[in-house]
Symmetry: C2
Subunit: 372 residues, 2 copies
Amino acid sequence: MLLMIPGPVQLHERIINSMCRQMISHRGAEFSKILKYCMDALKPIFGLKNGEVLLISGSGTAGVEAAISSFSKVKKILTIENGKFGERIGEIASKYCETKRLEFEWGRPVDLGEVEKAIKDCDAVAFVHNETSTGMLNPAEEIAKIAKENNALVIMDAITSAGGDYVKMDEWGIDVAVVGSQKCLGAPPGLAAVAVNERAWEYYNKKCPYYLDLAAYKKKLKELQTPYTPAVPLFFALEEALKIIEEEGLENRIRRHIILNSAVREWALAAGLELFPQPDGHSKYSNTLTAINLPKGVSDSDLRNTLRKEYGITISGGQDAVKGKIFRIAAMGNVGKLEVLSTIAAVEDVLSRFTKIESAIDVATKVLRDLK
Amino acid sequence: MLLMIPGPVQLHERIINSMCRQMISHRGAEFSKILKYCMDALKPIFGLKNGEVLLISGSGTAGVEAAISSFSKVKKILTIENGKFGERIGEIASKYCETKRLEFEWGRPVDLGEVEKAIKDCDAVAFVHNETSTGMLNPAEEIAKIAKENNALVIMDAITSAGGDYVKMDEWGIDVAVVGSQKCLGAPPGLAAVAVNERAWEYYNKKCPYYLDLAAYKKKLKELQTPYTPAVPLFFALEEALKIIEEEGLENRIRRHIILNSAVREWALAAGLELFPQPDGHSKYSNTLTAINLPKGVSDSDLRNTLRKEYGITISGGQDAVKGKIFRIAAMGNVGKLEVLSTIAAVEDVLSRFTKIESAIDVATKVLRDLK
């Protein structure tokens, strides 16, 4: 069985084994050491020097809601939406403050001119960096630059980019960013990390939910603890996942993600398939996931059920508006050439039973040669 | 190493091993089967026939906030507080609706006459069943009866009772109850289950937090999924924990908890120690945890650090107002005679170095004989 979906990702054997342990007290020195290691190791992954990384037991969505609700002392927030997770940000923000939702069609690029206009009366902006519902990498640096020119707080969902693609909070001017454990970090699902710089606290709103109140997490950090009982086995796993990242080196890891996902993309194009997202040079193809239009004559279940039954490979379909219209292959976390090659070869085989498709595995192997 | 704290509890070997698995897709049939098994197995533990058990990836506090915020379409809620977790309920409720906080000193019983008076202008009540900060079991059935006479919604924190003591939602008239995975259920921390009867939905408030919106969990249940990515390894563990409960039998399990914790209590009294809580017949001693006053001349670190260093046993100290004044021994989940006996023998040894204490292990063994 192989998971090539945007989380949960396939686990490295070391990470699986790391959870096979007796419990420890979450108020003891051993847990504090793990918590500290995780926070320190996550900082460079976020590109954050000064500030904290706060760890919440919950999904990435919990992390996004913690970020938005905790820093919602704003007049008006602009949310930029060009996919499912962008829309989710808009829905969450609407619960906590006046929200201006700038919507683009799914898979369409973020129009930076529109952002520039829309932000004028807003003092905060929130957006998704890597939109896995469409396979688009949104222009984080450019959005943050526009935001800073308007002195706005910048909150970024980096759930599926951090650990697999460049995230540079300090350099780009991102104040708050969120990552999920089960994506490019390569750990199991259930933890969200929220990276917060010093400036963000000016926007702190104590009317956030109790469980998601980042000030409580920050306060408890002085004792190297979490305010509520943490999901201890997932911390064992995250620690191991971060050690693997350290050993590989962040730069190598990002390069690997870029090459693996380029291979999928180049294969798809050479095979005569169409990519779903329409980048414009600012918005780019995701480096952690590829969204491909389902060719005519092939249904979602034709492809994905056959793939699962015959090859034991799970890929993703489309969500909501593009359900049944696209399929998505994610190479995130600790997968390598072997997993990518077998996935595209299997997809090619299954598609070829329903539609005419060029064999293009050689195009992928050529790209993969760059990964020694 | 042995954990005798009110969560995380010591894990059964089978539960540890259950997490040692590759990830599966949270949108596939295998996960749905696990989710369904967990919900079905939790229903009798809550004493709930009709309704749902909704599983949230987060701590028990996340579950309590989900319960209170999702059912906050009320005029005024009464919160009953006689310990740390009761106070937490009051703090959470205050975020979502008008809240009347009925406070009793920590360790003092709930005065049912006061509840009767206070509830008159309230249409909801929330309280903690088993208050682990003080070792008190609050009179759930009596409170629910008073609430029902006033046609009020009843929300109960059963985080440290369900699975180890009687919780009878239908019989007592509890509309919503919450349990945490890492207490009497014997699983690792990181999941909360919220049991909801049909009547509760009349009080549904869509202004609850996005991540904790129980209507979203209920809706997604139709597909046997969770709305946000669940903490998959913790579901593997919860499934195994619930299988162990099924094998033991709920009645046997509760009886075991009652006997184990009676043994601790009887030992403490025979040893000349004072119990912290002051039950009145309605409020009772907890059947899952015992809170004991620290004898004069013994500091918290004298006792607990020595215990940990010399015996590898971790027990709890007091929290907040009673920090340094009490110590707490929990026998929850899958521990048995062996763990209880070694704990009290070790505590007796350590205390005897600092204060005069009667040896009373034989009193405990006599109680434990009832457990075949």
